[in-house]
């Protein structure tokens, strides 16, 4: 029984992920700055390091520390790669104690989203080539994750962002392929196609001379191309809305008369889906373009867990049988050993509720065209944007915003746009009043 006791004690030690869960729950109210400070005070065990680095990297990006954010996310990415091999010791510990003794390695969506967030980190620091590297890596990862008809790990947000990065590089063939894949993924999931993706597909299929394909899109979307003129510039807005739900533990405990004790199975679950998206809109003159969801991370997280569930349940059942044998053996020795074994085996049964839980609930996009000398506004945040030509001589400006603060990033980078919310204003924003 000694190894079981040892492992059980080891599993109780690491409550860092519970602290991280708490911070993630409070993030919409506390904001990224305070949450980051609190997160940095936590020293997680090795097995929670990936989760910790992913969360910290994203918070650093939200707080304006793009280089620091990239460093953390890059470290998480490398750790995730090294953890793809199956660990003999962790498997043994998970089979006998609980799943939290495995090193957290991220879900299929996490494995792709780490590239997406890194790409944001490079792009809004002005490094298009760095963002392009991440998009190529995301492409390889999605290829590796694709299995048959499953959409597991296939992210429309990654495909759309890749399309934008290719457009910035004037690699229009590759951009078209990426937008097409984003469309296919969303259609496969029966999700509404965001207006920004519709415009990208219509405009690019037309300019690249794929007129049959253009007609198909025009029919499917019920709209025509919106090609910018020489005097127009294109704004593309990426918006991170909310904070994704935390996993919870679901526990089933039954009384086993044979051992006169309890058998417990703990499984992770998500709370019921209650996400109500809030949107931003870009206004220029009389034109107003609202952001639409390109990635519903609330749904991706639940899909990833659903895919894992059968394996987790089988493992939990096998573990319950192993623990039952331990309890039975102890009960046969004497009553006290039996009671002690029951306490330890039931208490050591914990669901693995770790996740990248500071991700947004959704990634949203908007794409609009304005005259180059006209200003624009992000309506809900009451942020005035300078005229297009004040920011760039090029044809695109990219914007990045989150619901957690009023920091706005631009590509090309400019110090022209930034406004911080007061704590009171942030609470209003969280309440959806903008």
């Amino acid at each position: 029984m000694t190894p079981v006791v040892f492992c059980a004690l080891a599993s109780f030690q690491g409550c860092a992920h519970l602290q991280i869960d708490q911070l993630a729950t409070e993030l919409p109210r506390s904001g990224p700055e305070k949450t980051l400070a609190a997160l940095e005070a936590i020293h997680p065990p090795d097995r929670d390091m990936v989760q910790y680095l992913l969360d910290r990297g994203l918070l650093k990006i939200y707080n304006g520390d793009l280089a620091g954010g990239r460093q953390d996310l890059e470290a998480a990415k490398q750790l995730m790669a090294s953890l793809r091999a199956i660990s003999a010791t962790e498997t043994l510990a998970a089979a006998t104690v609980n799943e939290t003794l495995r090193k957290y390695n991220g879900t299929p969506s996490d494995q792709v989203l780490v590239h997406v967030m890194l790409a944001f980190g490079y792009l809004f620091a002005g490094d298009v080539d760095g963002a392009r590297v991440e998009m190529l890596q995301a492409n390889v990862m999605m290829q590796q994750l694709s299995e048959g008809d499953s959409t597991s790990g296939q992210l429309a947000s990654a495909r759309f962002l890749a399309g934008v990065v290719y457009e910035l590089n004037n690699e229009l063939d590759d951009a078209m392929i990426s937008y097409r894949r984003a469309y296919e993924i969303m259609r496969e999931r029966s999700e509404a196609i965001p207006s920004a993706l519709q415009v990208s597909l219509l405009n690019l299929s037309w300019t690249q001379g794929f007129h049959d394909e253009y007609e198909r899109y025009a029919t499917a979307f019920g709209r025509e191309r919106q090609l910018p003129t020489e005097n127009d510039g294109e704004w593309i807005l990426f918006y991170h809305d909310g904070v994704v739900s935390n996993k919870q533990e679901s526990r089933f405990t039954v009384f086993a008369p044979e051992i006169d004790g309890l058998i417990s199975i703990a499984m992770p679950k998500y709370p019921s889906y209650q996400y109500r998206p809030r949107h931003l809109s870009l206004r220029s003159g009389k034109q107003r373009q609202r952001t639409d969801i390109v990635e519903n991370i609330e749904k991706r997280a639940r899909e990833d867990l659903d895919e894992q569930n059968a394996a987790l349940l089988a493992a939990a059942t096998a573990r319950a049988i192993a623990k039952y044998q331990v309890q039975k053996g102890a009960a046969e020795q004497n009553d006290l050993s039996g009671i002690l074994a029951t306490i330890i085996t039931v208490a050591s049964e914990q669901a693995d509720v770790r996740s990248w839980n500071m991700l947004p609930s959704s990634i949203q996009i908007a794409r609009t065209t304005t005259p180059v000398h006209a200003g624009a506004e992000i309506v809900e945040k009451n942020i005035e944007l300078p005229a297009f030509r004040e920011v760039t001589d090029g044809s695109h400006i990219l914007l990045f915003a989150t619901s957690l603060n009023d920091r706005i990033y631009t590509f090309p980078p400019t110090g022209l746009i930034e406004k911080e919310l007061t704590p009171d204003a942030r609470v209003q924003t969280v309440a959806g009043e903008f």
């Binding site: 003999a88 080539d129 590297v133």
Partner: protein, 195 residues
């Protein structure tokens, strides 16, 4: 028994410590399979050998009676990895300058600082030591290039193909006087089991 436990504990602590070993700079150590110093060195060596053996230098010297002056333009990383292209470009620059057959002029980024210093000299240096503006050596050729990769991955295995293309372009008429290419191919197998 206690001694045995202490011994095991001591050994396990010792095994966790960081170890550092000096190795030869030319030794090949592949850890992750990603682009590393060896790849950078192989590319630089190949490119230097090639660029020095081609007729563009003699042709330019014969025509003008001067060594060609080269400026490094952009070497873009279009690969799947974050590669610092300046390492092999700097190595090429060093070898070419040391060969005595080519001059390199400062790149756009480097020039800014030098010009600032020249303006400062104009105000603060003695006339005898002052360097005048407008005396810079104009480049005859610009070196540009890119790194591309093709990655094929299946499960724990990956084939990575790198292609480095460098081009030397005459500033006077946009002629491409030299095109260098180096290809590398790696087969990477990641472990299926770890401790």
């Amino acid at each position: 028994m206690k001694i045995l436990i202490l011994l095991v504990a001591a050994l396990s602590i010792a095994a966790c410590g960081t170890s550092v070993e000096r190795v030869d700079e030319d030794s090949t150590i592949d850890l992750s399979g990603a682009w590393n110093d060896t790849d950078s060195r192989l590319v630089a060596e190949e490119m230097i050998l090639d660029v020095l053996s081609r007729p563009w230098i003699l042709e330019h010297s014969g025509r003008t009676g001067k060594r060609p002056a080269v400026i490094v333009g952009t070497v873009r990383n279009l690969s799947h990895e974050h590669i610092n292209t300046s390492t092999f470009v700097a190595e090429m620059e060093r070898e070419l300058v040391n060969s005595g057959r080519v001059d390199f002029v400062a790149s756009r980024d480097e020039r800014g600082e030098i010009r600032d210093e020249r303006i400062d000299q104009d105000l603060n240096a003695t006339e005898a030591t002052r360097n005048a503006a407008g005396q810079e050596l104009g480049a005859d050729f610009m070196l540009q290039g890119q790194i591309n990769t093709i990655v094929d991955a299946e499960g724990k295995e990956q084939v990575r193909y790198y292609q480095v293309d460098l081009t030397l372009i005459a500033m006077s008429d946009n002629r491409k006087v030299w095109i260098g290419q180096k290809k590398l191919k790696k087969f990477i197998k990641n472990p299926k089991i770890r401790f």
